[in-house]
């Protein structure tokens, strides 16, 4: 098994601190932003909403509170198509009225005195979800973990183009460490492991940066430099090697949402997002409100230099295709990419020549080529026996396939949840 090194494609200047994106004049907030069930709407057309007001309440498994990202009036309730497929209700808010928070000094709650149940309830009420994987509500995620588990902070971006997590780690290290301490106290963590990009920003390379964690004294703190910072094989490694309740993996974007909810009392209504790709004039990381149309974000980055071939929500290996520029930013989207033909390197789909590259680079050690053959031949049982179930949909097999066969697409469609 070889690990794949991808071109990082981050040769643009990162502005720190991360600039705030303009507020959208209309925000479209889907009531389902991750796996699980959609939230139940509690506002009607015409309802005047304030920033951070609840629009929808949890309604079943994995669903969570959804808040208004901007002050204004509910203009319409429409059906919105989800990038990952399917549809859900979406609340459209027209910007108007005054801001409760923007431009005001943030409040600071002293979390150390709060009880565990109150902290979890706050996370729930503020709509905090993990910003990777299934988008599980954070309170449920934390409660699913064993007391004394290990915390792993992945302070790096694992896919090309994206700089979302690194820029958060760089610009809000203090808030991030506070959030780590909050989570550590909630799960009574045994150790805290911070994974940083070995080639990434210098400020994150030193253990000194993470000294506040050590000062607390009750946790073992370890800094891991991942030399495969761009190694897309790693998300799988992280996800699969964390067996169930033994470890808790978190991204900086989740951690700052925790910080904002607990310390500043803010609902999860904004997130950091990388807007990049060869078709974007001025690539940037922005802090934008949930519900902002991706077209607005692209506009703010200078618009298109050329007509993009693919519009992507998320990373180039695991993201979703965007059908149009009106799609809103959601809690789970860390990147908006506009890719040009030399970047996508699409090509004619040709027969498999059994070169074996897909199996050579597969991070879970299965043979995508053979499983693909089984699946297209309708031999589901054989495919499962060959390890179909361990597919993590990392996209690497399709990336390396010289015949441009949609291996990953086929395998993940059959691998299920």
């Amino acid at each position: 098994m070889h690990s794949l090194r991808l071109e990082p494609r981050r040769d643009w200047e990162l502005l720190l601190p991360v600039p705030n994106a303009y507020l959208p004049t209309t925000a479209t907030v889907p009531l389902k932003q991750h796996r699980g069930k959609a939230a139940r709407r509690v506002v009607e057309v015409g309802t005047v909403v304030r920033e951070g007001m609840v629009l929808a309440v949890p309604d079943g498994e994995l669903s969570t509170y959804i808040h208004s990202p901007i002050p204004g009036t509910v203009r319409s309730v429409s059906v919105s198509r989800l990038p990952e497929g399917g549809e859900c209700e979406a609340v459209e808010i027209l910007l108007s009225g005054s801001f409760d928070r923007l431009g005001k000094r943030p409040e600071r709650y002293i979390w150390k005195g709060m009880r565990r149940a109150d902290l979890l309830q706050t996370l729930r009420a503020k709509g905090v979800v993990e910003t990777s994987g299934k988008g599980m509500p954070l309170d449920a995620l934390i409660e699913s973990k064993k007391r004394g588990c290990h915390i792993v902070i992945n302070a790096l971006d694992r896919e090309p183009y994206l700089r979302t997590e690194t820029s958060i780690a760089e610009s809000r290290i203090g808030d991030l460490l506070d959030a780590v301490l909050i989570v550590a106290s909630l799960v009574e963590a045994a150790t805290i492991k911070i994974v940083v990009d070995g080639e990434g920003p210098q400020s994150l390379q030193s253990i000194e940066t993470f000294a506040p964690l050590k000062k607390d004294g009750s946790y073992g703190v370890e800094l891991v430099r991942s030399m495969g910072g761009q190694n897309a094989a790693d998300p799988g490694k992280i996800r699969k090697s964390g067996p169930g309740s033994e470890s808790l993996h978190l991204l900086p974007s989740t951690l700052v949402a925790i910080y904002d909810a607990i310390v500043e009392g803010k609902a999860f209504v904004e997130r950091y997002v990388t807007v990049a790709g060869g078709a974007i004039r001025r690539p940037a990381v922005l802090k934008a409100r949930i519900g902002t149309p991706i077209g607005d974000l692209i506009e703010e980055c200078g618009g298109f230099v050329e007509s993009p071939e693919r519009l992507v929500l998320g990373g180039p290996l695991t993201g979703f295709p965007a059908l149009n520029l009106d799609l809103p930013l959601t809690k789970m989207i860390g990147g908006v990419l506009a890719l040009t033909p030399p970047e996508t390197r699409r090509g004619k789909v040709r027969p498999c020549i059994r070169c074996g590259l897909c199996g050579e680079f597969c991070p879970v050690g299965i043979d995508p080529e053979i499983i693909f053959r089984d699946l297209t031949g309708g031999r589901i049982v054989e495919a499962k026996a060959r390890g179909l179930g361990s597919c993590i949909s990392c996209g690497i097999c399709s990336y390396v396939c010289p015949s441009r066969i949609e291996l990953s697409q086929c395998l993940s469609a059959h691998a299920g949840g």
Partner: protein, 338 residues
């Protein structure tokens, strides 16, 4: 803004590696072309004519076999490469029916009948060349010693003799500087064979160019080194030990003479490494290559030397299902490294 002409909706990943099947095939052809041109320069237009025949027949046959399946596949480069390999592996000036029949057989029967690119169980060029040798062996063998005649350019008519003279000087120099101090000596002829002139004055494969092309393609990671390396090793070792048994005893086989004899190089680097008909895991590649080498040795020793490398690879092609059954578990997540 995005034009309405095309909205792509297929799922992730959205980016791909630069490698494509077609590009690899065309790259191999591109690296092999200098060999053909050099051979033409030395031996005359007939060589180029034979190559043109085998390539155009291969292309036409591929148009037919892919057309029957309502596809167009000429642009994948594999038919062109098959035709070119057949031209290089056959004698320089064969009777024209040989390359034509070999190409047609390769594309229509070996490739087309099994369902086109990716479905054949032996390399088409290899099968085509074997087909020609089995049918017209004597006349092909008779045409093998191509003499430098009817050269396309007047000024190169002296090339073969120049090469021979160059060989004498370089061999002499190497012997004085390198081999004599070591108590050995390099027979003359090897340096000339690097440039395509055999010791008896006939024209053959320019070994130097073939090696350079192989090295470049290994460097580009288009062909993998494991199969040719194992094939060479497992041919050379027994041949060195027993190849000279009849004439000069143990450990005296003319290893260089055998492996540098045209077809062995071409077969080892360009036909045995065909991804479709060879394994892709390291251990299996080494078993495959070793089998090719050993069987080639057996053919050289006890059968028909002209077929040796061809049959070595053909035999292992047939064993592919068994070889691919030999598996070592791959390193899995969470095991090993951490």
């Amino acid at each position: 803004m995005i034009s309405s002409r095309e909205v792509l909706v297929s799922g992730a990943p959205f980016i791909h590696d630069h490698r494509t099947t077609a590009r690899s095939a065309w790259l191999v052809s591109f690296m092999l072309l200098p060999i053909l041109l050099w051979e033409t320069l030395l031996s005359g237009w007939g060589t180029l004519g034979a190559a043109a025949a085998s390539i155009s027949v291969a292309l036409a046959a591929d148009l037919l076999q892919s057309g029957l399946r309502r596809r167009f596949e000429l642009d994948d480069g594999s038919a062109f490469l098959t035709g070119l390999l057949i031209a290089l592996a056959l004698p320089l000036k064969p009777p024209l029916y040989a390359p034509i029949a070999a190409s047609a057989f390769a594309i229509l029967v070996i490739k087309g009948a099994f369902g086109g690119l990716g479905n054949n169980w032996m390399n088409p060029a290899l099968g085509g060349v074997a087909f020609a040798w089995l049918n017209w062996g004597p006349s092909l063998a008779a045409s093998q010693g191509s003499t430098p005649a009817s050269l396309p350019l007047a000024f190169v008519s002296t090339l073969p003799s120049l090469v021979s003279g160059f060989d004498d000087r370089v061999t002499g120099l190497l012997n004085t500087l390198l081999f004599q101090p070591l108590g050995a000596s390099l027979p003359s002829g090897y340096v000339a064979s690097m440039l395509g002139v055999e010791s008896n004055g006939t024209i053959g494969l320019p070994v130097g160019l073939a090696l350079a092309a192989s090295a470049a393609l290994i460097g580009f990671r288009v062909i993998r080194w494991q199969i040719p390396a194992a094939m060479f090793l497992f041919f050379i070792a027994p041949f060195w030990a027993f190849g000279g048994l009849a004439s000069s005893g143990l450990f005296s086989g003319d290893v260089l003479g055998q492996t540098l004899a045209g077809s062995f190089l071409l077969v080892a680097f360009f036909m045995a490494t065909d991804p479709v008909t060879s394994p892709s895991r390291t251990g299996q590649m080494i078993i495959f290559g070793a089998g090719c080498g050993l069987i080639a040795f057996l053919f050289v020793e006890f059968g028909a030397p002209a077929f040796a490398p061809l049959f070595g690879v053909l035999f292992m092609n047939a064993l592919m299902p068994f070889i691919e059954g030999i598996r070592w578990p791959r390193a899995k997540l969470g095991e090993g490294k951490e």
